[in-house]
């Protein structure tokens, strides 16, 4: 068994490229879906029923669909619509669009939970429109939503493993390649599982640290 792990170590260049690919997908998907989610969240709470309906429909549709199905939809559907993308970008876009719905929903939840007097006070001090959202609402929404955003990042990492089906060279895909070449399934996949664990522990630690930092600044 030890020699199997040695083979994995000899293939560390491939393992590292898979790991970096997964981290790249995570970074792109996390930033984009947070940004788009922050834009979609006000639409979910819009007073105009048409906008709210469309936003809710999108979020609910995403929450009903399994991620793999959505990946196939993007991967096979976009070329039919005349848009040709590399596998990596097709996967990244699937991750972004799928997680945007979840991010929007959890930001909406945090937003709805904000104490109304705070916002009324801000209005009394002359904050309004975009300035109110940027200076008063968003910082608090992000503080409240931080642990849930951390959970969603873990979900993005887990979803990214699905992209092996459209041959994105992420961690699971690389490990499956090594496994198939040297026939060392246990060593290869255990390494993958442990690396995923490490990524998620870092995410959890990071979100905990940020939460504490935000608490201290507010105090």
């Amino acid at each position: 068994m030890t020699e199997h792990f040695l083979i994995v170590w000899q293939q560390r260049a491939d393992v590292l490229s898979g790991l970096l690919d997964t981290l790249g997908l995570l970074a792109v998907a996390a930033l984009a879906s947070l940004l788009l989610g922050a834009l979609l969240a006000p639409a979910l709470m819009s007073k105009r029923p048409a906008i709210a309906h469309i936003a809710v429909l999108y979020v609910d549709a995403m929450r009903c669909a399994p991620f793999l199905l959505f990946v196939y939809l993007i991967y096979f559907g976009l070329p039919s619509a005349g848009i040709r993308l590399s596998n990596w970008w097709a996967g990244a876009i699937a991750l972004i669009l799928y997680n945007t719905a979840y991010m929007a929903e959890l930001l909406r939840g945090a937003w709805a939970g904000l104490p109304a007097p705070m916002i009324e006070a801000a209005r009394a001090y002359g904050f309004h429109g975009f300035g109110l959202v940027r200076r008063i609402i968003l910082p608090q929404v992000f503080t409240v939503a931080l642990p849930m955003i951390g959970n969603q990042l873990v979900q993005i990492v887990k979803d990214s493993a699905f992209l092996t089906v459209i041959a994105v060279g992420e961690l699971t895909h690389q490990m499956n390649g090594i496994q198939a070449t040297y026939f060392i399934p246990f060593a290869a996949f255990i390494t993958a599982v442990l690396l995923y664990w490490a990524i998620c522990l870092v995410i959890e630690g990071g979100s905990g640290l940020l939460s504490r930092f935000a608490e201290e600044r507010r105090a």
Binding site: A61, C64, A65, P66, F67, L68, L69, Y72, L73, F76, G77, S80, V154, V157, K158, D159, S160, A161, F162, T164, V165, L171, T172, M175, N176, Q179, P185, F186, F189, I190, A192, V193, Y196, W197, I199, C200, L201
Partner: protein, 214 residues
Amino acid sequence: MNAFDYWSIAQGALETVLLSVASIVLGVPLGLGLALIRWARVPYLNRIVLAYVSLIRSCPAVTLTLLIFFALPQFGISLDPTPAAILALTISTAAFNCEIWRAALINFPRDQYDAALAFAMPRSLRFRRIVLPQLWRASLPGLVNEMTLQIKSTPAVAVIGIVEITRAALRVGARTYDPLPPFVFALVLYGLIVFVLIRAQRVIERRQPVEARA
């Protein structure tokens, strides 16, 4: 898409339901067992369960399925795709269910437990008649939520060749060169399964005695 295509995707739905039900039936009690180990702070086992839950919760379903299907034969255990898929799904759902049961156990009112103790109820009776009914009620929404997530993660087992909804839809799309209709039909089927599950939860909640709902 002809009638046979619809039929083949519907058969995939049967496979999805079968795998989900099997893993839920195994995973819910297993999760309860793990939660009880954590709750009772059984030495050593407690730590192992903690590590298990943390590891599995961050492990992608695809990777876990591949690990079980390809690595177990190395240890002389060869599983067919279906049992391997059920095993992978059970292992993953048990970890999430453990956390749901544990949250309910932590919130269980201590005084009720003490009252049962004062009535000299033996341990098993205390658990069966006092703790479990209330635990079940408190955990049901969380458990059903996890079940819907579980159904959405079943396509992961398609990587070891199981033809469930998503893979069946993919096959139809590959045959007709028109992938959108089968995927939309698949989406409708997933929606239907989740809807039935949520309705079942409502029915179970309504069947509970009135005083328990308050």
